[in-house]
């Protein structure tokens, strides 16, 4: 996946560091609070929201269970409309295809529409190696790119930055790669947006090649759909001569009519608006309008692995709205970087281990990056049962570690099973705990434990054992029940 995240530590380690960043916590608290209120407001306006969510889930389930048929249909429609279709099994192949397409045009730079798929495959880094500059044109992506930073949210990748930080990044970096910001730039969001407008306009007007993703790809007509706000998407999709779109294979919708469901679900769930400012659709090549050289790269990159998991495949319904991030108490406190992927938050915790497998430390730890409170599942516009999938993936991680040298946790669990299976052993253990509780004196929580136990105690504060257990109190007050 994206080179920017290679070698990430496990979630719990990264989270601990992120929790120390109080500025980021304040920024996130403010931003997610704003968006949660807006989303709730516009969702409440519709009296058929649950019916829409069910329809969204049902359409996606239909697509996923006939994905081979729909992809072939999409390929046919696209080809008929004048687009060239490419298939990419993984990130490396997709990057190779895009790089050679850009090279064939002779262009040394491309403008980019915000796209999760191209971030997922680390396309910008691959283009850079090939000597091609990729300019991100979404405001938040621009902030991340200019700040040499990593995205921390699906919709608003610079959500961890506040206006003062954004101003500093613009003043420091913009002039190095193009039109500098005006002198006297303040941190007023309106002025910051204006600086981005001027900076990027020059790039839009001269660009020969654009790269996008797609929110939806309609099999029946070969129509691609991009949903956006700023108009940078329209600029990229309209002005250049060549357009290359990298589309995950799960983005297919059967018919144009299906848009009626998703164009109601997505804007309300993502930015909390009745409708996003701009949606563009294009069907291959339109003579005299827009790019006359149109390519679509259909991307697997782990999606067929997720599809093979009967329980896990519903994660492929995801339409990248990020509502689950905005309601997640864990995401709100640790931010997006700790998840080690362009897909953070609850959806990232179930998507990454399925797309990338569970071999790395970070992917093994992600299913545990949740308190299982269930808020994510409640807001998901396509009814992905995120908490259930987290538990499912925890089981997978545990199963993969069976056999070999048992871990400390496995030994402790074996010991606990032995102790709980006989009431006499349990009472003895409680006696032991009472004694240790008295030994701890007036402290009411256990802090750091020594040695291997620290892995457990570092992540939580446990209450000290009580001076007397309920069972022994009952025996003392009411006599032995037997």
């Amino acid at each position: 996946m994206s080179g920017t995240f290679i070698g990430m530590p496990k979630f719990q380690t990264a989270a601990k560091e992120a929790l120390g960043n109080s500025q980021q916590r304040r920024n996130l608290q403010h931003a997610t609070g704003t968006i949660r209120r807006k989303r709730a407001g516009v969702v409440d306006e519709l009296n058929n929201w649950d019916e829409l969510r069910q329809a969204g889930a049902a359409i996606k389930d239909n697509v996923l269970s006939h994905l081979d048929t729909y992809l072939v249909q999409l390929e046919e429609s696209l080809t008929q409309a004048g687009a060239t279709v490419h298939w990419a099994a993984d990130a490396e192949e997709a990057n190779r295809i895009v790089t050679s397409l850009v090279r064939a045009t002779g262009a040394e730079e491309v403008v980019k529409v915000k796209s999760m798929a191209t971030q997922e495959i680390g396309l910008n880094e691959a283009l850079e190696v090939a000597g091609i500059n990729a300019w991100e044109t979404d405001l938040a992506e621009l902030i991340v790119q200019l700040g040499h930073d990593k995205p921390s949210h699906i919709l608003v990748p610079a959500i961890h930055r506040n206006r003062a930080e954004i101003r500093e990044i613009f003043l420091r970096e913009m002039g190095q790669v193009g039109t500098p910001p005006p002198t006297g730039l303040t941190s007023n969001p309106r002025e910051l947006a204006e600086a981005a407008r001027v900076h990027l306009r020059e790039k839009f007007l001269r660009a020969k090649v654009a790269i996008s993703g797609a929110n939806f790809a309609i099999a029946e007509t070969g129509t691609l759909v991009v949903v956006e706000s700023e108009g940078n998407g329209r600029m990229c999709l309209t002005l250049p001569e060549t357009l290359i779109s990298v589309v995950g294979i799960e983005k297919v919708l059967p018919t144009l009519e299906d848009l009626e469901v998703f164009m109601q679900l997505l804007p309300r769930s993502s930015t909390g608006e009745r409708m996003n400012p701009y949606t563009s659709t294009w069907t291959g090549i339109t003579p005299g309008d827009g790019p006359q050289d149109v390519h679509v790269v259909l991307l697997d990159n782990g999606r067929t692995d997720a599809l093979a998991d009967q329980v896990g495949r519903q994660a492929l319904r995801c339409i990248r709205c990020s509502a689950c991030l905005n309601v997640c108490p864990v995401y709100q406190r640790v931010g997006g970087h700790a998840y080690g992927s362009v897909y953070p938050g609850p959806i990232g915790a179930i998507l990454n281990p399925q797309l990338r497998g569970t071999t790395s430390d970070v992917d093994q730890s992600l299913p545990y990056a949740s308190s299982l409170c269930g808020a994510c599942g409640d807001v998901c516009p396509v009814n992905i049962e995120i908490p259930e999938l987290l538990v499912h993936l925890r089981t997978r991680v545990v199963d993969e570690h069976r056999g070999g040298i048992p871990s400390g946790e496995q030994i402790a669990m074996k010991g606990a099973a032995w102790m709980f299976s006989d009431h006499r052993r349990w009472e003895k253990a409680q006696k032991g705990a009472e004694l240790s509780g008295r030994a701890l004196g007036k402290k009411d929580t256990i802090g750091r434990l020594p040695g291997p136990l620290s892995a457990w105690s570092d992540a939580r504060d446990a209450p000290t054992p009580p001076a007397e257990s309920f069972r022994s109190w009952w025996k003392r007050e009411k006599g032995d029940p037997r």
């Binding site: 407008r197 309008d289 599809l307």
Partner: protein, 215 residues
């Protein structure tokens, strides 16, 4: 094996034994009844901080002129009724011949177009880029977009909007859905109007069936 065949084989293998789920039973294109569809449309478009005016058919020319008093160069699609821009005083009006480059378009102050569909509940205007709307770049690069929508083009909500747009998609034309002026929520998730698309959206809603109530 080609990557294409390999991917299709992997998908077939992943789905082996899985239930093939049929498309949902859904009444597509259902209507959303509204007591006053035009009033809802106006209210919702204004909510995005666009300017909306209601005019009679014979009032379009004067309203366009009143809106563009400060424009010096205006571009229009080839199929736009020319009388709509007939009263522009002192402004150069250029009908797009398809050859204007992005740079040349950047030297126009404003564009005037018609529309294909207006969606009341979401306050959305859809362009299907027919002759009175022009190619996409026209309604994108100039900073002011004056868009003329007829009341007869209004539908209640998104489901009703697809049917009137289908013929354009089947003909290979693009669509542009516009809900207010260009905006961003990327700084602290607070909405700011005006980034790359037109920063001013001025909508003229033309009554088609009944006269306007007295002001």
């Amino acid at each position: 094996m080609s990557t294409r065949d390999d991917m299709l084989t992997r998908i077939a293998a992943a789905l082996e034994g899985a239930d093939r789920i049929p498309p949902p039973q859904r009444e597509y294109g259902a209507t959303t009844p509204l007591p006053d569809i035009a009033a809802t449309f106006v209210e919702r478009v204004e909510d995005y901080r666009a300017v909306v005016e209601r005019v009679n058919p014979e009032g379009i020319t004067a309203a366009v002129a009143a809106t563009l008093t400060r424009a010096t160069r205006v571009v229009v699609p080839p199929g736009l009724p020319r009388e709509w821009v007939a009263a522009l005083d002192g402004a150069e009006v250029v009908a797009d011949d398809g050859d204007l480059s992005p740079d040349e378009l950047d030297h126009f102050d404003a564009v005037v177009t018609a529309a294909a569909v207006g969606i009341a509940v979401t306050g959305t205007i859809v362009l299907d880029h027919g002759p009175d709307q022009g190619r996409r770049a026209l309604s994108l690069v100039p900073d002011v977009h004056v868009c003329v929508v007829r009341e007869s083009q209004l539908v209640g909500d998104v489901p009703e909007s697809i049917a009137p747009l289908r013929h354009a998609v089947d003909a290979g034309r693009p669509l542009t859905w516009i809900s207010g002026p260009s905006a961003t929520s990327d700084i602290e998730l607070e909405r700011v109007e005006g980034v790359h698309g037109p920063r001013t959206l001025h909508v003229l809603l033309v009554s088609t069936d009944h006269p306007l109530p007295p002001a």
